[in-house]
């Protein structure tokens, strides 16, 4: 067995850096006193106030539902964090990991000093229970398929196997071993997801169907514990002194306030009642300029989401035109992404590919390794609307239809009534009418349910779609265009060559080969103009200047406070 040992350097390094950067202050907790230096003179309380727009009510880690918020209270084998260097994962509950030569056996050596908030040690049995619970057919968890590659997992889930047959087992109290059916280089990327976090069998079984619903029954093994909840109002987290790395956690309290209105949140941020703010539209623009003036801090980071327009690949759309490649290309290339983003959103990045720059491969952004596949072709037509009109007309001719563009009507299906959503619809309508001379009918419905009903009834040519990735690998994106898998993203796209390439990735351990296949797959999508990418999502945080070492993540908790501290607030 070849040893592939990772060190905890990443995490320790970040923590040490924070200590060097003058640590936390005002804390009455003796454990953090050692880190403090400048803080001695300050009167800062280590309390962070942050806004959210929903609380959730799902405290079952296997259920993934509220991971973006609650994951910061838990700890899995790995923790995904992002900083100025991008997304990466660090060892968390695991101290080290050994991988067998053939890449099918992972042996995790757990932190021996990791404890739950009630003082019990976090053991390999907790991981084993959590993993087996995930594929237990009794619970039907949404993310069970995350570990179907573990020997016996899919069989147990489908009722043809047993829990004992699932090869995710505790070798001893601090050694957790997982055996895969075939080597899977994306496996480690999934370990940061909460469904693969440990769960306490004694508590979960006692709680029965209340597990994950009643937060008072929960215990935590991460940097914070939930200590108070007032629905629709406030959630309070306090520092978990039992967290294995608690010495590096400086914040004593994190207060989450549920603030629905951007205007209210802005008032609170201006007052100093909030330390971290996520907002949109005009408020975002306001704080962007304040950030430029140094009054607040701004963090903009890539987020693994790509917003697209999906074609009706199944039936060619209401107009019957969407089956034609030239027409699809004319529609896609006639949208000026830069102008659209500036006019409608005031943030995000224009997309000329499908896989987001936030996705990393082999430690580097996928997008920095593979050029956006649509860019070259798009640039050929850039701004030349006569050429695009001709392209559209050629498509019409191929279909044996009249080439009179003014008689063409394309239907765009979307939902939602926010300012951004309405502005985008109007922008799209105008852009196509002006640039291509076609008519655009907007089929706008109130909510997502009505949207799916219209979509399933085929009342559209294109609909608003997109993908937000669940784990950090290009495959999660590319899978969505695999025949029949995610029609809500692909619009029913089907290409046997594409499917065969995706199939060929199974068991492929060579990163160079994988990269080559990913590149080919994405290229096929754009040779076929399978989708219209619009923009890559980004995250935008505004922070008071006194907030230090704030971290974020795209695959674990959206906000990570495990090394965050307050310095210079004065209260």
């Amino acid at each position: 067995m070849k040893l592939k040992r990772r060190s905890v350097l990443g995490m320790m390094g970040a923590a040490c850096l924070s200590a060097i950067l003058a640590g936390c202050g005002g804390s009455d907790d003796s454990s953090s006193a050692a880190v403090s230096s400048a803080a001695q003179s300050g009167t800062d309380t280590q309390v962070l106030n942050i806004r959210t727009t929903a609380f959730g009510n799902n405290y079952d880690v296997q259920d993934m539902g509220w991971r973006w918020m609650m994951a910061a209270c838990y700890s899995g084998l790995y923790r995904n964090v992002a900083d100025d260097t991008g997304e990466h994962f660090v060892l968390d509950g695991a101290e080290s990991v050994d991988v067998s030569d053939d890449g099918t056996v992972y042996t995790f050596h757990l932190q021996p000093n990791a404890k739950w908030s009630d003082g019990q040690p976090v053991t390999a049995h907790d991981y084993e229970y959590g993993w087996k619970r995930l594929v237990n057919p009794k619970y039907l968890y949404d993310y069970a398929s995350f570990i179907f590659n573990v020997v016996g997992a899919e069989e147990y889930y489908n009722g043809t196997g047993t829990a004992d047959g699932v090869m995710a087992v505790a070798v001893d109290d601090y050694t957790f071993q997982v055996t895969l059916k075939i080597a899977d280089p994306t496996f480690e990327a999934k370990l940061v997801a909460t469904p693969l976090y440990p769960t306490r069998e004694d508590l979960a079984e006692t709680a029965g169907d209340q597990w994950g619903k009643d937060w008072t029954l929960c215990v935590y093994n991460g940097p914070f514990c939930m200590s108070e909840l007032v629905e629709d109002n406030k959630m309070v987290w306090t520092k978990n002194t039992n967290y294995w790395n608690a010495d590096e956690t400086h914040l004593e309290t994190v207060n989450w306030y549920l603030v629905g209105e951007d205007s209210t949140a802005a008032t609170m941020f201006d007052n100093g009642e909030l330390d971290v703010l996520q907002t949109s539209g005009d408020y975002s623009r306001k704080y962007q300029s304040e950030a430029e003036a140094g009054q607040v801090q701004m963090i903009t980071a890539d987020y693994p989401g790509t917003v697209c327009l999906a074609f009706d690949h199944k039936n060619g759309g209401k107009s019957g035109l969407m089956g034609n490649l030239k027409i699809r290309k004319a529609l896609s290339y006639s949208i000026n992404r830069e102008e659209m983003i500036d006019a409608v959103y005031g943030r995000y990045e224009p997309a000329y590919g499908f896989i987001s720059p936030a996705i990393t491969f082999d430690g580097k952004s996928y997008r920095s390794q593979v050029e956006e596949p649509m860019l070259a072709d798009y640039n050929k037509y850039a701004g030349d609307y006569d050429a695009l009109k001709s392209l559209f007309q050629e498509g019409l001719s191929e279909l044996g239809m009249s080439t009179d563009l003014s008689s063409v009507t394309v239907t765009y299906l979307s939902y939602g009534s926010t300012v951004e959503e309405s502005s985008f619809r109007e922008y799209l309508q105008q852009t196509w009418q002006q640039n291509l001379g076609i008519q655009v009918e907007l089929n706008t419905v109130g909510d997502y349910s009505l949207f799916t009903a219209e979509r399933d009834a085929g009342n559209f040519d294109l609909f608003s779609a997109g993908w937000y990735s669940d784990y950090n690998d290009p495959l999660d994106y590319l899978n969505t265009f695999y025949t029949g898998l995610y029609v809500s993203v692909s619009g029913g796209y089907s290409n046997s060559e594409y499917d065969a390439l995706i199939d060929s990735l199974a068991g492929e351990n060579d990163n160079a080969k994988r990269l080559s296949i990913y590149t080919q797959c994405e290229q096929i999508l754009f040779d076929d103009c399978a989708t219209i990418p619009l923009y890559y999502s980004t995250k935008e945080y505004f922070l008071q200047n006194w907030v230090k070492d704030f971290r974020w993540s795209s695959f674990g908790a959206s906000q990570e406070f495990y090394i965050t501290y307050i310095e210079g607030r004065g209260f």
Partner: protein
């Protein structure tokens, strides 16, 4: 009287049944279901499992009968969207919050409204009257949302007199944490002020022209005594009709106010539940609010007879 009350109780039960049935089937008629959005993000194979898990894979009539049967036993079921939330939990945690907010708004709004109404009626066609009428029109036409955000901006933002958001909970639920309640109470009381000021003014002006007021004036009673003894008492009947409605409505919460001030009340939750097509919660809340409304109407009807013997009950003899 007993016969009447029994008949009304049967009618109430029937009304509730119709409301529950109508709500159930209306929600069913809307395309999609509470799980649509979640299911859309899952691979096809996991979707069936999700529907099975929540029992939404069963036929509509079967689910209707199960739901009705459970409701008869006081079990409205659990939220589809927010795991673990139930209607009974809602009653325990959220109703008192909305109730306190509503009661404060109503007490303040109705008192100020009545005072302004009296002022306007006793100074009819004077600048005071016009000011009250103008103010009422303004207060009733500007939405809560605008007032709320404006008060928040000025009194919490600029002046920092009150906290921007929040609501007293725990031991402070009913009597503590007043500073949190000032802005939401003010925001909500404006519509009461407007309604009651105009209602009482109109009603008083009607009474002022009655013969008995003229008689009182001719007897040489002072203006104050006439207003107190003769005008006010008689012009309160429309107010008494409106008041129980206000009481019923005030504890059902206000979506906008609760949303702006992050108040954990029932109003905000109800709207969200409807948006999410969260069947059990919508059904539970609708039935409970309907029940509240029907009971208040019933009490009002009974009280009418008790207060004013001239009003007779259908099916009974007042002679």
């Amino acid at each position: 009287m007993t016969k009447y009350i029994i008949r009304r109780l049967v009618e109430m039960a029937l009304t509730l049944f119709i409301i529950a049935t109508a709500t159930f089937f209306l929600l069913e008629a809307v395309p999609g279901d509470p799980l649509t959005q979640r299911a859309d993000r899952l691979p096809e194979q996991s979707r069936a499992a999700l529907y099975e898990r929540y029992g939404l894979d069963r036929p509509v009539m079967e689910r209707y009968l199960t739901q009705m049967n459970n409701m008869l036993h006081g079990d409205f079921g659990e939220s589809f969207v927010y795991a673990g939330q139930t209607v009974s939990g809602l009653l325990k945690d959220r109703l008192p919050v909305s109730a306190r907010l509503g009661i404060q708004q109503m007490l303040l709004g109705v008192s100020v409204g009545l005072l302004l109404g009296i002022l306007a009626a006793t100074h009819a066609r004077s600048p005071i009257d016009y000011a009250v009428v103008g103010l009422s029109v303004l207060l009733i036409s500007v939405p809560h949302l605008v007032f709320g955000l404006l008060l928040q901006k000025v009194f919490a933002g600029t002046l920092k007199w009150f906290p921007t958001i929040g609501w007293p909970t725990g031991k402070d639920l009913w009597l503590g944490g007043w500073k949190y309640t000032v802005l939401p109470t003010l925001t909500g009381c404006f519509s009461y002020i407007a309604t009651y000021a105009r209602l009482l003014k109109t009603s008083m002006l009607d009474v002022i022209n009655q013969d008995y007021v003229l008689t009182a004036e001719s007897k040489g009673l002072s203006r104050g005594a006439i207003v107190r003894r003769h005008i006010l008492r008689n012009s309160f009947i429309p107010v008494m009709t409106q008041l129980p409605m206000s009481v019923a409505m005030c504890i059902t919460g206000s979506f906008f106010i609760e949303s702006i001030f992050s108040i954990p009340g029932i109003g905000q939750y109800y709207v969200t539940a409807v948006q999410n097509q969260d069947l059990s919660i919508v059904l539970g809340e609708t039935v409970l609010l309907a029940l509240l409304y029907i009971v208040v109407l019933f009490i009002t009807d009974v009280l009418y007879v008790v207060v004013d013997p001239r009003i007779s009950m259908p099916g009974t003899s007042s002679r």
